[in-house]
């Protein structure tokens, strides 16, 4: 049982896809200018990783090795298209603010990465836990990154301004993204090492 839990939790810190595995950098840098965008993007990606892991784990023994990449991509692309339509119908505001980055989930390395590294070699339950854990870790990373950039750059959090006027605008632009990301990676690695030490 504890092995199941560790499959789920490894994606949160020790193997956080954005901060330790350094995957999915494009949306990580591109949509985190505000906390709500980071959270929305993370949850949308979690939806895709979870379902793609489950589906690919179910059909893994039917796909010949030399066509496995196109097969996985078709599954992932269909899931993202479905997600887009669901968001356009039921979450239109979020759909608009995330804009072009939703279809880009198809080429988010985390999704294909987990399919190759885990779902194609493990059973359905474990794959689902892995997908969920990786997705939640990604969401955590993006939300924290978005929150820091929003607080420093716009003076608000989740669109609630706590002072009049602008923040340090650099933080909502690309340089700020790289800067904050760099610090977050450093902090997370430190945290991960401490957790390793505690387990020994």
């Amino acid at each position: 049982m504890s092995s199941k839990i560790s499959i789920l939790t490894k994606g949160l810190i020790k193997e956080n896809p954005a901060l330790i595995l350094i995957l999915g950098m494009c949306p990580t840098l591109g949509v985190t200018s505000s906390a709500i965008n980071g959270l929305g993007m993370g949850l949308a990606t979690t939806f895709v990783i979870l379902l793609s892991n489950v589906i690919i784990s179910i059909i893994k023994n039917l796909i010949p090795d030399n066509v496995h990449i196109p097969a996985y991509i078709v599954v992932i692309a269909s899931l993202v298209t479905i997600l887009q339509q669901l968001m356009a119908a039921y979450l239109p505001a979020l759909n608009e603010s995330l804009g072009l980055f939703i279809p880009l989930i198809v080429v988010n390395c985390i999704v294909l990465g987990r399919a190759e590294a885990f779902a194609s070699k493990n059973n359905v339950v474990d794959s689902a836990l892995d997908g969920l854990g990786m997705g939640l870790g990604f969401t955590l990373a993006l939300t924290v990154l978005g929150a820091i950039r929003e607080i420093l750059g716009s003076g608000s959090i989740f669109d609630l301004k706590f002072y009049e006027g602008d923040g340090i605008i650099g933080f909502v632009l690309a340089p700020g993204a790289f800067l904050v990301l760099g610090y977050l990676v450093a902090v997370t690695k430190r945290l991960s090492k401490k957790l390793d030490k505690k387990e020994e």
Partner: protein, 211 residues
């Protein structure tokens, strides 16, 4: 069942075919389920924007006007059978992040009542501030026949958002495009001295600007 390392051509083709077929079916199903909700959401959004830029109305006629920058959609607002305003949706791809689409409401004399961005995905904290009153207010009551629809940096009368000139230019251009479409729609230029226009009722579905 299938030898993963040495599949036959037939096996590869069939596997890919089945996966593609099932995925297509899934996408088509979700499309069918969400189609109506999406249309409804879009209609609601449009209604909200229209009421933001027009005076009270009970119905609108829509018209497509061809301009030099593509098509503009015109909503002619009427109340009790009389025309009370014009809302024109225009767009360009000059925004920092591409497409910027604005709905501009004009009164009978070609004066802007209000503007509402219908597509704006600019940088939060910068270009996105085009949604805030501080930027939008200056367009309320703006008379394009008397003042210039360009940012001050380009010699016009519009205050750009600080550090967001590109978005400000794109937004202002969209409003200018709307005004151009309005002039085409009314079939003549707005009289710049008295601010009056002759009331021409458009009776064809498309008009062309010959510039």
């Amino acid at each position: 069942m299938i030898d993963k390392k040495n599949p036959t051509i037939a096996q590869m083709v069939i596997v890919l075919l089945v996966i593609a077929a099932v995925c297509s079916a899934g996408v088509a199903t979700v499309y069918a389920i969400t189609k109506d909700t999406i249309a409804e959401t879009n209609a609601k959004k449009l209604q909200k924007s229209l009421s933001e830029v027009l005076p009270e109305y009970d119905k609108t006629d829509t018209l497509t006007v061809k301009t030099a920058n593509g098509n503009a959609f015109c909503y002619i607002a009427q109340k009790d059978g009389k025309t009370v305003g014009y809302a024109i949706k225009s767009s360009n791809t000059n925004g920092y992040n591409g497409l910027v689409e604005v709905l501009t409401g004009f009164d009978q004399m070609g004066k802007i009542i209000n503007t509402s961005a219908t597509v704006l995905n600019e940088t939060p904290g910068l270009g996105q501030k085009a949604l805030e009153p501080k930027f939008k207010e200056q367009f309320q009551g703006f008379e394009p026949s008397k003042k210039t629809l360009k940012v001050k940096k380009d010699g016009g009368d519009v205050d750009a958002i600080s550090a967001a000139t590109i978005t400000s230019r794109a937004y202002t251009l969209a409003v200018q495009q709307a005004f151009d479409a309005l002039q085409t729609l009314l079939g003549n230029k707005v009289d710049t001295h008295s601010g009056a226009t002759s009331s021409a009722n458009p009776n064809s579905d498309e008009r062309e600007i010959n510039n």
